[in-house]
Subunit: 319 residues, 2 copies
C-alpha cells in the first residue's frame, strides 16, 4: 500500500470513495493501522444516524434498505441531498452474497451516490460486530447522514448488531410462520420498529395482529412500538417507514435517549475490543498452537479436564 493513513484519511474527509474503501478494508482486516485511523477520525464520528435492519432470510431486507436509501437521497432533510451508506453483513443479502459469489445482483438502479459496503468475513478473531462498528465509524466520518446496517437475525448476531445501531428495525414477512416464532424467540429483545414487508401477500393483517399481541406482552408495553407495512419491491410504505425512523430519532434526541444508547453501545464496543485483543494475544502468539495441542493430548490421557486446563491457561495469562 503506497498511500499513508494520513493521506487516506484526508481523502475520506474530501469524501473520496476510493480512499474510503481502502480505509474500510484496513478496518475489516484488523490491520495495525486501525489505532491511527480511529484517532484521526474521532472528531468526525457521531453525526450519522445508524439504523440496523435485521430479520429472517428472505424477508426482503436488502430491497427495503435500498428503497429507503433512495428515499433519503432524493428527499433529504432540510432541502439538501442526504448522504446514505449501506453496510451489509448478511450472508443471504444480495449485496453480500451476490457480490461475493458472482450471483445475480437482484438489486438494480440504486443511486450511485449511495455508498454500499458488503462484509462477508465471518469468524475473525475480533468478531463481526467489532469490524462492523469500525466500518460504520469510517462511513460516519465520510459524511454519511444515514448509515443503514443490514444483518440476518436468527441467532446471536442480531444482538451484536443492535449494539452498533441507534435504532433496530426488525423486518418480517407474512405467510412463513417463522416470523412470529423468531420474534418470540429473540428478535423482540432488539426490536424498536417492526416492518411487515411483502405486505401484499396473504396473511399480512394477521401477522400485524400477532405482532401487536406479542408487543403487548413486553415488560414495558406502555411504550408503543411502531409497526409499518411495506412492499419494498413496489416502493410502498417506504415514505412512512422513513418518517417513522425520523420521528424515532427526534424522540430519542429530545428525551436524551440517543446519548444513553450510544454510551451503552460504546461500553459494548470497548468490551468487544478488549476481548478481541485478548484472543489475539493468547491464541495468536508464538508457540500458542503447539501448547494447545499439548493440552489436548493431556486431556485425552485423562490427566486434566478441559475445565482445569482452561483454569491453568487463564492463570498463566492473567495478573
Amino acid at each position: 500500500m503506497s498511500d499513508t493513513v494520513d493521506e487516506l484519511v484526508a481523502g475520506l474527509f474530501r469524501s473520496d470513495a476510493r480512499a474510503t474503501a481502502r480505509l474500510i478494508t484496513l478496518v475489516e482486516d484488523e490491520a495495525p493501522e486501525v489505532a491511527r485511523i480511529q484517532s484521526a477520525i474521532r472528531d468526525r464520528v457521531g453525526r450519522a444516524y445508524r439504523v440496523g435492519f435485521t430479520g429472517p432470510p428472505g424477508a426482503g431486507k436488502s430491497t427495503l434498505v435500498a428503497a429507503l436509501a433512495k428515499h433519503w437521497v432524493n428527499d433529504g432533510e432540510s432541502g439538501r441531498v442526504a448522504r446514505v451508506s449501506i453496510v451489509a453483513v448478511d450472508p443471504t443479502s444480495p449485496f453480500t452474497g451476490g457480490a461475493l459469489l458472482g450471483d445475480r445482483v437482484r438489486m438494480t438502479s440504486l443511486d450511485p451516490s449511495v455508498f454500499i459496503r458488503s462484509m462477508a468475513n465471518r469468524g475473525r478473531l475480533g468478531g463481526i460486530a467489532a469490524t462492523t462498528d469500525g466500518v460504520c465509524d469510517v462511513l460516519d466520518a465520510y459524511g454519511s447522514d444515514w448509515l443503514l446496517v443490514e444483518t440476518v437475525g436468527v441467532g446471536q448476531s442480531e444482538v451484536e448488531i443492535a449494539e452498533c445501531a441507534d435504532v433496530t428495525v426488525v423486518v418480517l414477512t407474512p405467510g412463513t410462520g417463522d416470523s412470529v416464532q423468531l420474534l418470540k424467540a429473540g428478535l423482540m429483545e432488539v426490536a424498536e420498529i417492526v416492518v411487515v414487508n411483502k405486505a401484499d401477500r396473504p396473511g399480512a393483517d394477521s401477522l400485524v395482529a400477532e405482532i401487536q399481541s406479542i408487543v403487548g406482552m413486553r415488560p414495558h408495553s406502555d411504550v408503543p412500538m411502531p409497526i409499518v407495512s411495506t412492499v419494498a419491491t413496489e416502493n410502498k410504505g417506504i415514505d412512512e417507514l422513513a418518517k417513522t425512523i425520523e420521528e424515532y430519532r427526534t424522540q430519542q434526541v429530545s428525551r436524551g435517549l440517543l446519548e444513553t444508547r450510544r454510551k451503552r453501545n460504546l461500553r459494548a464496543k470497548i468490551q468487544r475490543l478488549v476481548e478481541a485483543r485478548l484472543r489475539r494475544e493468547i491464541w495468536g502468539g508464538k508457540g500458542a498452537s503447539e501448547e494447545l495441542d499439548a493440552t489436548v493430548e493431556c486431556i485425552l490421557r485423562k490427566e486434566e479436564t478441559p475445565w482445569d486446563a482452561s483454569e491453568r491457561i487463564v492463570k498463566k495469562w492473567i495478573r
Copy 2:
C-alpha cells in the same frame, strides 16, 4: 439444592432422568459445580456419536430430528434399543420456542425414551457453544448412543455448533431460494451431509442439482458429499438418512478421522472455556462496571480512543 454433585452423578450413571436434568441445569447455569461434574463424568464421555443439524428457519429440522430419533430408538444397532438424546439450541425450534413460550408443540408422539433438552439461553458470558458442549457431555455420560443437536444456521452459530459435533448435517428446503444463498454464504463450510427436506414440494430436483453444482466447486470436491431427500412429516427418507449417517461414522472411525475431528473440537472447546473465564474475570469482578463507565466518559471527552482504552485495559490484566 439438596443433592450433592456426587449423588446427582450417581443418578446420571443409573440413567435417572431427574438427576440428569438437574446436572444439565447446573451446566447451563455455568454453576461453580461444573468443574466437579466434568471431573466426575470424564471417563464416561466419548461414547455417543454427536450429530449436528443446522439450516435456515422453517427447514423442518425439529421434525427431521424427531423422526431420526424414533428411527434409532426402534431400529437400534445390533439388536438392542438405542438411547437417543436431543439438544435443541434453535430459537425457532418447537422444542425450544414451544416449550419456552407456551406455543403449540408441533411435535407429537415422540418416544418417551428420547431425552429432549431445549436450550434457550442466549448471550451468556460463556456463549451458546460452551454450554451446549457441556450439556452434550452430560447426555453422553447418561448413556446416549446418539446425540442429536439442532441449531438454526444462518450466522456464526452453525460454525460454533459444528465444533461440538462429530458430523454436521445441513437441512435445506426447495422453493424458498434462500437455501442456495445460505449454502453459498457459509453453510457449505460446515456441511458434511446435506438433506433436502420437504422433498415433495416443487423445485426439489432443481435444488438437488444446484447443491450438487455447489458441492462440485469445493476445494476438495473429490470427496463426495451425500445428499439425501426426505419428507420428515411423512417419515420418508429417514431410513436412508440414518444409514447415510451410520456409514459416515463407520468411514470416520475406520480412517481415523473421528479421532482427528474430536481433537480439533477439543481444541476449540478449550479456547471457548478460556475466553469465557477471561470474560467473567474481567467484566464480572467488583468495580468492573464502574470502571467501564469511567472509560466511556473518557472516550466521550476525546481523551482516549476506544482502541487505546482497550489496549490499556488489556495491559492491566495480562502478564
